[in-house]
């Protein structure tokens, strides 16, 4: 940006505006977190007193712990399968051109724009028709679908800067195809696979629209539990639950960003 006096004024104005937008982006979350610590039952803002009551109460909410675990299990499994499938897809398509590549790529990435409510509805009917009643498995299968585009994208980005002569070097040194992939390619694209896995985890952990059709009484995911609870009562302990979930999500992301680098964020 130019540094003329007009330019500097403009820069400052832009940053001020950005600050406003940032406030807009963060406000709801900040409000919720602060309310989770506030005393009065009426959930006023700014909080007039601080307490951890709601957190204590939140932990007694029935099924909360169970839902939390269920969501974590679901997210880990979905992220893992999604990372494996996504890596295979990315490796298969990278560095080569074939007829229909654009079509196949669009197909793989389509769950990003395809309404997930339709995915949920379609899978519900699909599993019912097949009389497939393993609910947790159904949830995993559905979550993999909506998370695959993320892993494919991050791994593809890693492969775009991959030096393929390294594979030649490995092969000539005596590594067969499998060992070449395992010893040379995988370690180098690990950041891409990992960050894809993290996105997949978060998307699955937070997902409501697909889960809502596939879940049952024994498999209530955390978002579903929170949704139901927020509709049912005006209990402020819901803010504590919400605050905890915000913290978990941000913590997971921050740790991964530390491990892999914030650059991968723009791969979204």
């Amino acid at each position: 940006m130019n540094t003329s006096s007009g330019g500097r004024v403009r820069a400052i104005m832009l940053w001020l505006y950005a600050l406003l937008v940032v406030i807009f982006l963060l406000t709801p979350l900040v409000v919720v977190v602060s309310m989770s610590f506030s005393v009065p039952m009426t959930m006023a803002f700014p909080p007039t007193g601080l307490t951890l009551n709601w957190y204590a109460k939140a932990l007694t909410v029935t099924g909360l712990g169970e839902s939390f675990l269920r969501s974590i299990e679901l997210a880990v499994l979905s992220a893992f399968i999604s990372a494996v499938l996504g890596t295979i897809a990315a490796v298969g398509m990278a560095n080569r051109n074939f007829p229909g590549k654009a079509l196949v790529t669009s197909f793989f990435l389509s769950p990003l724009v395809f309404p997930s409510i339709v995915v949920g509805v379609a899978l519900l009917q699909f599993f019912r028709t097949l009389r497939f009643d393993h609910v947790f498995a159904a949830l995993v299968l559905g979550h993999v679908i909506v998370t695959i585009p993320y892993t494919i994208r991050t791994v593809t980005a890693s492969l775009e800067v991959f030096d393929y002569t390294l594979l030649d070097a490995a092969k000539v040194l005596g590594a067969d195809e499998l060992r070449t992939f395992w010893e040379v390619m995988l370690p180098i694209i690990k950041p891409g696979v990992f960050s894809g896995g993290v996105f997949a985890f978060l998307v699955s952990f937070d997902n409501y629209t697909v889960s809502m059709f596939l879940a049952d009484a024994k498999n209530i995911t955390l978002p579903i539990r929170i949704y139901n609870y927020s509709e049912a009562s005006i209990d402020p302990s819901i803010t504590a639950v919400a605050a905890m979930m915000i913290l978990v999500s941000i913590a997971i992301f921050a740790i991964s960003a530390r491990l892999v680098g914030v650059r991968d964020l723009s791969k979204l």
Binding site: D168, A169, K171, V172, G174, R179, E183, V184
Partner: protein, 363 residues
């Protein structure tokens, strides 16, 4: 190490023929260079020998074993890349140890072999560093060590010094040659730099457009090029087009379009008859300059001096020939004889040389 043979090898990509009926032999312990311009097929040949590609026709033979269809990891070749291709996530030690590890060799032997190899390339103190922490020259030495430690049947090098600066390149060439001769490993070296090829090779194969033009020692390539391409690609020359007027056991006489007669006492290898179109040429150091009024009885081409470069031990003269083409005369600045005469830019001169130094090429 073994001998390497390419028998009638062709490689096509659809309609494009990268290699056309190539016959090539490399003897045990020999260093052969594949010399040619970009895209001539020399790297393709290398990749065929390595097993990264399969020939469309013909056979790749190690010793007496046909290698067609055998994957690269079973061929025991060493490959050194232009951009080093060191595994960035492994240390120098792990890079060099990789090939040994793939062969299932025990850790103790690996350690001693790797350290021994690193000693040979003078990098034993860098064993625990990562490639990104090394200079270009060091990285390439690691690449060499990695390829040699597995005691390959043949060492393949794909323009390995192309990414290095001139001084480093010169010293690496020497180092490679010493290493190769010490280990007596059959080597094939790809380059587009004729100086490099002339420096290190036992023999050179000049490649153009998927064909081998000539395989010979550096001297024979320079003194007796068999095709125009080799003439132009290796070393400089003074060349003129002309028509044969006489061709017999004593040599050839050629008349140029501007009425000059050039003679060669070299017996024609290809059958030439009067009327054939040919190219005659002479190497710059074989010619000398005379003032315009002194006409030499043998080959004598008039021209004007357009440039003079004094290089201490030699002087290079550049002359505008009768057709406007550039001619060169390299003159040794030794006492006595021709060196006593100095010529200046703008002077009218004759470029003269003896019949025994005239090279003749048919169309």
């Amino acid at each position: 190490m073994t001998s390497i043979t390419l028998r009638k090898v062709s490689k096509s990509y659809g309609a494009f023929k990268a290699l056309n009926n190539v016959d090539l032999s490399v003897a045990r312990g020999e260093l052969l260079s594949l010399l040619g311009p970009s895209g001539c097929g020399k790297t393709t040949m290398l990749r065929l020998i390595a097993g990264l590609l399969d020939p469309t026709e013909g056979q790749v033979v190690f010793g007496d074993a046909v290698m067609n269809g055998i994957p690269p990891h079973k061929r025991n070749v060493g490959l050194v890349f232009q951009n080093y291709s060191l595994f960035p996530h492994m240390t120098v030690f792990q890079n060099v140890a990789f090939g040994l590890r793939m062969r299932g060799i025990d850790a103790k032997t690996i350690k001693s072999d790797v350290m021994q190899m690193l000693e040979m390339v003078r990098l034993s103190d860098q064993a625990d560093r990562y490639p990104s922490q090394l200079s270009g020259g060091q990285q390439q030495r690691v690449g060499l060590a990695r390829a040699l430690v597995i005691k390959p049947a043949v060492l393949l090098l794909d323009e390995p010094f192309g990414a290095l600066d001139k001084k480093l390149r010169d010293s690496m060439q020497l180092e490679l040659r010493q290493l190769q001769q010490a280990l007596m490993v059959t080597s094939i070296f790809v380059t587009h730099d004729q100086e490099e090829a002339l420096t290190i090779s036992d023999r050179i194969a000049v490649v153009s457009d998927g064909r081998v033009e000539q395989i010979d020692t550096p001297q024979k390539l320079y003194e007796a090029p068999s095709t125009r391409f080799v003439l132009h690609f290796v070393g400089a020359s003074n060349a003129l087009e002309g028509t044969v007027t006489r061709s017999d056991s004593s040599g050839v006489a050629v008349q140029t379009p501007h009425g000059l007669t050039i003679r060669s006492s070299v017996r024609p290898q290809v059958g030439l008859s009067p009327g054939d179109g040919v190219l005659v040429a002479c190497r710059p150091e074989k010619a000398w300059l005379t003032p315009a009024d002194e006409v030499y009885a043998g080959n004598c081409v008039p021209g004007t001096v357009k440039g003079e470069v004094y290089l201490g031990s030699v002087t290079h003269y550049f002359i505008d020939g009768p057709d406007g083409q550039e001619m060169r005369v390299y003159q040794l600045n030794a006492p006595g004889g021709r060196a006593e005469r100095v010529f200046h830019v703008g002077e009218r001169v004759n470029v003269a040389w003896g019949d025994e130094n005239t090279l003749v090429f048919s169309r």
